[in-house]
């Protein structure tokens, strides 16, 4: 499955891109994360949450094809 993945804040320091299509083998968020960890060695040191279709999800949430975002700690205000 091809998934659109967006990166924000300090995650971009690890990925050097804001957005890309990622091909995932597997059905869960955890499968996508494994793919990304293999691709970006610095990602393991980063603290982030994952959103699917603009809602935070957990590792065992099923991928449904919508946009994924990797979100470091929020620091608005």
């Amino acid at each position: 499955m091809n998934i659109k993945v967006k990166y924000f804040g300090q995650i971009v320091d690890a990925t050097n891109t804001n957005e890309e299509l990622v091909n995932v083998n597997g059905e869960q968020i955890s499968d996508l994360l494994e793919t990304l960890n293999n691709k970006y060695s610095q990602l393991k040191n980063k603290d982030f949450k994952i959103a699917q279709n603009k809602e935070l999800v957990s590792l065992d949430t099923k991928l449904n094809g919508s946009e994924i975002a990797l979100l470091p700690p929020f620091s608005g205000g």
Binding site: G9, Q10, K54, P72, P73, F74, S75, G76, G77
Partner: protein, 137 residues
């Protein structure tokens, strides 16, 4: 909104509420960029980025929840994107109600929800142009 929120914009926003004569109390929160000194380097500005689609969704959710929870007449939230210099304002939250007790509770609820739920990311730019990522307390 792009860049800092000006005091004129805030004053004008207050002015516009003077036709709403059921309002008895306004409460306004302003977040201002601090010139913190970290390891001897001074913060000159913060550059804000956001996951805008999700941020707008969250602002909408917070707004709905606040109106459901509190007897508010009006509510406005503005957050800067882009560069905001030290001393400038990056967050403006404005609530109004017939009665004062409500606005105190509502404003704190909304500001804490923004900090916790809205995907906005601040990059602290030091005077020597190095940076670090801001972390909320």
């Amino acid at each position: 909104m792009e860049g800092a929120i000006s005091s004129n914009f805030i004053g004008n926003s207050i002015y516009k509420h003077q036709t709403k004569t059921s309002i008895g109390a306004h409460n306004i929160f302003l977040g201002q960029v601090r010139a913190d000194v970290i390891d001897g380097k001074t913060v000159a500005a913060i550059q804000y980025t956001a996951y805008e689609d999700m941020a707008n969704q969250k602002f909408h959710d917070i707004r709905e929840a606040a109106f459901k929870k509190f007897d508010l007449t009006c509510m406005h939230i503005y957050h800067s994107l882009g560069t905001v210099k030290a001393g400038e304002i990056c967050l403006f939250v404005f609530v109004s109600s017939p009665r004062r007790k409500v606005v105190f509770k509502a404003l704190e609820y909304i500001v804490e929800a923004i900090k916790a739920e809205v995907p906005v990311f601040g990059k602290e730019i030091f005077e020597d142009e190095t940076h670090q990522w801001k972390v909320n307390n």
